[in-house]
Amino acid sequence: LAVKLSERQRSPHCLLVKEHQVREGADTAHPPRRTLFVLNVPPYCGPDSLSRLFSRCGHVQSVDICDKPGPGEKKDKLASKFFDCKTLKGFQVAYVVFRKPAAVQAAKALSQEGPLLISTESHPVKTGISKWIASYEASIVDPKELKAEVDAYMQDYDKKMAEEEAKAAKEEGVPDEEGWVKVTRKGRKPGLPRTEAANLRVLEKEKQKRARKELLNFYAWQHRETKREHIAQLRKKFEEDKQRIALMRAQRKFRPY
């Protein structure tokens, strides 16, 4: 399927289309038979223009653009306007969901016609300077709006934290069904924090304790062992040094004249 941005362009990109098939499992976002799988979507082609392109085959319900094919996850609409916004760029794949299955077949037959135009008089696609100016404008945020959102989020967060705390306080010292009591940092007898650093510290202490108890020169074999180890170490070091000297010699380019 050939597409062009506008009339002026000479060589088109090819979109590859295919009916979306799922092997197993229900892909709720992309129902089979109604979904068209599109490969090689050029970077300047957004969901709007795609849906316009395919609307000639039938009513388009939704368009999903991702950077690699995969099961469509339910988009959480919670993502805020200011934070964690992702932009997809480059050549992508798209899932076009039609109302009716017939439209998919119609779309597959589109390739016989001439190249499609992404940008038309009525719906221009912004690229280049105009796009950047627009995105610059978009990057300037309205302080009030931002403040409101931050406040709302923080209230939510505070509430959540308070709830958690209340729940923890309620469970404090209360045994569960099997009779276990959870030891937390709070309460009368605080347990150790469960962090890696704390664990390491405990291990280290343990080791020291054992080392203090151990007698080093008690048995004859211990003596022999240390000697042997010492010699092995020396040997190893010697070998390493030899290698290093060889390396140094190899890289030296002594050409004073």
Binding site: L5, H13, P69, K89, G90, W132, I133, E196, L247
Partner: protein
């Protein structure tokens, strides 16, 4: 062996020992009659003939040659260390360009010196070569032969001349065993001082355990251009004839057999040394070398020795002072001072009430002040030596034109940098004292290169012109029809907030709290200090004094929280993530680096300019996106912190030359580059770093920089540069260095030093030409555009209550970003990558510097194939006003690939041998280049001669 070379046999004709009477040639005797020399027929009556010590000495030299040989071979008998030591000493002299030419410190001379030390029992026959070298250098460093000469003659024969006679006739005195010949007859005092200086420096290096003394002393050549801060050439030595006339040097001329170069040189050098006495620690000159000539041709004239080169080594504290204070007006020395400086000298009254003779040099900017020695030299040589200014070719600041900003008045931008820093200091004070903040500000730290004086083009205070922009409510927007507005760099500042229990312990919440702080900071600054602010999610932009500062709030525990991982067993672990690393880099390490380098700049005032030149060169070679700015800053800092065997640079030019040399000559593969900032590393640390480096080489970045705060990870070079980019940098550096040195050393050429700042373009596959109107930094390009367009700003720093200007809007960068992103992943992951392979291939490449500029294309491409990135094209651009983007295809991208869903990006399907394959849709991609950059791209030039579709 295989090193066998042709042996040259030199025949010296020398007279029999009994031919001349030695007493005829005492330094006070005359052997050339003035009348004969002047070709007059009758000698003047009653005139005493002047002594001709040099002439006498040269004849004596020939007569005693044989005895010297015997003397030396006697000394060297059963003294094996002497041979080794002499070999070392000769190498040492040769690396410093001291051992060739007229009046050199030759190998013969140094052998005689060793013999002298043996005689004086400073050296004993048991010593090894190293000890001989050390004691000789020690002697050279501590003895000034131009004041206290030495003699090899054993028994004091009363008939022979004493040392004082020699001192009267010669500048440097070292008398041979016969007691007649001065071995240093032709040497100027300045040359000896240079030897002495080098010896002192070398002793310091030998005593310093942090430096590899062998490498620094004997392996590093010290050409004049890289040794001295400023260099100037005397284009035509024939001008020295008039010098001889002016200084009335007839006797010397006669003594030297008409060799006006040798006659005038000592006087010219001492003149300069006097004129620069407070500013320069060393004034050195190159040694005139008489070229060899075929036996049947005419011997060369005196003017054939080529241009003479002088080198100046400055004292950084005084070199740039504009005032030369002389004696008080009523002192007898005043008139002498006046004759020395000529009409430049004038009476001045000073603040302490004294009235003194003084010379004031005109210079308004730091860049011009650095050139005061040039003014002095031109003035003195014209006044006393009759050398016209046109025949002096001074190379001190030729390179600085590429970092000069806009108008002449701004000089090299050092003043602009200082005013930025002042403004920043003021802002940080205001932030500290901000009232009504819920948490106090604990630290304000700048991270922008301008705040460590190393921004290539420092920001200039600007005020927007409203009519130039599109206005939407209270916003200024770039307009589509007009040229792109000037680029205003946001100067990034990290603002650390006090820690408190109130901070949330969750990533998302911290982000929001930070945003809230940004909002509040903006509001408070506006209320309490009337600054125009614009808050955003990740920062607040503050418009102050015409600069835009970008405040970014940091919380010291945030990187830690980002690192937190809870394992399935409920254990809390800290794991480095990309995000936390980035944040740590930005809020912890970068501020530290910035302040350290800021301190370095205070010690070495030309550090900033050197670094700017280096960065300018890298970006001019289109590689600025492939190597981090901090990495370049550190490399330049290395030159200042570890200058051995040189002295720390005192001019940007010499610093830049050494930077190129460092890039080209350092063994990146086998050695870590240790930059000892604030001397935070001890000797044992360095050894440990080196050992660990060797052990873990294959896992470390290709360019490994270690600093006291970052000993093992080399954080500034972790991702960039890649092996092939480093290879290209090394190649470009060595070629640029060669070209530049050739030009700077040849005063007769036209000296277009900008040549090394123009990139070779025939290396690239596609060139995207840009529309100059839309390049906001077009004025910064190497070859400045002839006509410039209005960018909608005026220079101004007293503006309050205005609309916020357009900040950080550079269409070219946006375009590049878009291009890179859209071409990434273009080919999928079809390059099979063997992890160790990169290293195997690296073996051959790094040091193959014999190849020229352009023929390494194939190597680079081969390397590129095994690159870890799966982009199919690389984009190169000069961010300082480049007019084109260069694109390099990766060659494997043109090979047909089997059809796969994941590798279909930007490709089209064709059939090959009845199989479905896909190849890149090149025509469409080229047109995409134009579409993505609509309005910016002028044309896309595909250079198809190197690749076919």
């Amino acid at each position: 062996g295989k090193d066998e070379k042709m042996v040259t046999v030199r025949l010296h004709a020398c007279p029999d020992s009994g031919l001349f009477k030695p007493s005829r040639f005492y330094p006070s005797k005359n052997n050339i009659r003035t009348a004969w020399f002047m070709e007059q027929s009758t000698p003047k009556e009653g005139a005493t003939e002047p002594p001709t010590p040099h002439y006498n000495n040269s004849i004596l030299c020939d007569t005693v040659m044989l005895s010297h040989l015997h003397f030396l071979s006697n000394t060297a008998m059963d003294f094996p260390g002497m041979k080794d030591g002499l070999a070392l000493l000769k190498v040492w002299l040769n690396q410093r360009q001291l051992s060739k030419g007229l009046g050199c410190f030759s190998g013969f001379l140094v052998s005689m010196l060793v013999a002298y030390l043996l005689m004086k029992r400073k050296i004993v026959k048991m010593m090894s070569g190293y000890q001989v070298l050390r004691s000789t250098l020690q002697f050279l460093a501590s003895t000034d032969l131009s004041v206290t000469g030495i003699s090899l003659a054993k028994d004091a024969d009363p008939s022979l001349p004493v040392l004082d006679d020699f001192h009267q006739a010669f500048e440097v005195v070292f008398v041979d065993p016969s007691g007649l010949v001065n071995l240093c007859a032709d040497m100027t005092a300045s040359k000896y001082h240079q030897v002495q200086f080098e010896a002192k420096r070398s002793m310091e290096i030998l005593d310093d355990r942090m430096v590899d003394g062998f490498q620094a002393l004997l392996m590093t050549p010290k050409p004049m251009l890289r040794t001295f801060d400023h260099i100037f050439h005397l284009k035509h030595v024939s001008k020295l004839q008039s010098t001889c006339k002016k200084m009335q040097l007839l006797n010397e001329l006669m003594d030297r057999g008409g060799n006006y170069v040798a006659a005038a040189l000592p006087f010219v050098v001492s003149l300069l040394a006097r004129g620069l006495s407070q500013r320069a620690q060393l004034v050195a000159h190159s040694l005139p070398q008489i070229p060899e000539w075929p036996i049947d041709a005419e011997p060369p004239k005196h003017k054939d020795v080529g241009p003479l080169t002088f080198g100046l080594l400055f004292l950084p504290e005084f070199a740039a002072s504009t005032l030369e204070k002389g004696p008080q007006a009523d002192h007898p020395e005043a008139s002498e001072f006046r004759t020395f400086w000529g009409e430049k000298s004038e009476l001045r009254r000073f603040q302490d009430g004294s009235i003194c003779e003084a010379v004031v040099w005109e210079a308004s900017t730091v860049g011009q002040k650095r050139l005061i020695p040039e003014q002095i030299i031109r003035h003195l040589l014209k006044l006393h030596a009759d050398i016209p200014e046109s025949s002096i070719c001074y190379t001190g600041a030729l390179l600085e034109s590429v970092i000069r900003t806009g108008k002449e008045a701004w000089g090299t931008g050092e003043e602009a940098m200082v005013s930025v820093v002042c403004s920043y200091d003021d802002l940080s004070r205001k932030l500290w004292s901000l009232k009504e903040l819920p948490l106090t500000v604990t630290a304000v730290q700048g991270v922008h290169p301008a705040l460590r004086y190393t921004d290539v083009f420092p920001p200039i205070p600007m005020k927007p012109i409203y009519s130039f922009h599109n206005r939407r409510k209270h916003l200024l927007l770039p307009s589509q029809e007009k040229p792109c507005p000037a680029y205003i760099t946001p100067l990034k500042i990290i603002c650390h907030m006090e820690g408190s229990g109130q901070w949330p312990q969750d990533k998302g919440a911290i982000k929001r709290i930070k945003a809230a702080f940004h909002l509040q900071l903006a509001e408070l600054l506006q209320q309490q200090h009337q600054l125009v602010c614009r808050p955003a999610v990740t920062h607040t932009d503050v418009y102050k004094d015409g600069y835009v500062f970008r405040l970014q709030v940091a919380y010291h525990r945030e990187p830690l929280i980002l690192k937190e991982v809870v394992t399935p067993e409920g254990m809390l672990k800290y794991q480095e993530t990309e995000e936390s690393r980035q944040l740590e880099l930005e809020t912890l390490h970068l501020p530290y680096l910035t302040s350290s380098l800021h301190g370095l700049q205070q010690q070495h005032p030309v550090f900033g300019s050197t670094s700017r030149l280096a960065k300018r060169w890298i970006s001019a070679q289109l590689l600025s996106d492939s190597i981090s700015e901090e990495c370049v800053d550190l490399l330049v800092a290395f030159l200042f912190l570890h200058p051995a065997p040189f002295t720390p640079p005192s001019s940007p030019q010499v610093g830049f030359l050494r930077f190129l040399n460092l890039l080209a000559a350092f063994d990146w593969k086998n050695n870590p580059l240790i930059v000892n900032l604030n001397t935070g590393l001890t000797d044992s640390d360095c050894t440990e770093i080196k050992n660990k480096f060797v052990a873990a080489r294959s896992r470390l970045p290709v360019m490994f920089l270690a600093t006291p705060k970052d000993q093992w990870s080399s954080m500034w070079t972790r991702e960039r540069p890649s092996a092939q980019i480093l290879q290209r940098l090394v190649l470009l550096a060595s070629e640029s260095l060669r070209a530049l040195e050739e030009q700077l050393m040849d005063p007769l050429s036209d000296q277009d030093v900008k040549m090394v700042f123009r990139p070779p373009l025939d290396f690239y596959d596609v060139l995207i030409h840009l529309n100059p109107n839309q390049i906001p930094r077009h004025l910064e390009s190497v070859d400045r555009p002839i006509k410039s367009v209005s960018r909608g700003v005026v220079k101004n720093n007293f503006a309050t209550n205005i609309l916020f200007p357009v900040v950080d809007y550079d269409p070219v960068q946006l375009y590049l970003q878009e291009l890179r992103v859209s071409m990434a992943g273009w080919g999928g992951r079809w390059v099979a990558l063997v992890p160790g392979r990169l290293w195997v291939e690296m073996k051959g490449w790094l040091w193959d510097s014999g190849s020229k500029f352009f023929n390494s294309r194939t190597d680079l491409i081969e390397e590129a194939c095994s690159d870890a990135f799966n982009e199919l094209a690389l984009f190169f651009y000069d961010k300082h006003g480049g007019e084109m983007i260069a694109v390099l295809w990766k060659p494997l991208s043109f090979q047909p690939q089997p059809f796969k869903v994941s590798s279909m990006k930007g490709r089209k399907v064709t059939t090959l041998n009845n199989e479905l394959v896909c190849v890149p849709n090149v025509e469409a991609i080229l047109e995409d280049f134009e579409i993505l950059g609509e309005g910016l791209v002028k044309s896309v030039e595909a250079r198809t001669e190197k690749w076919t579709i």
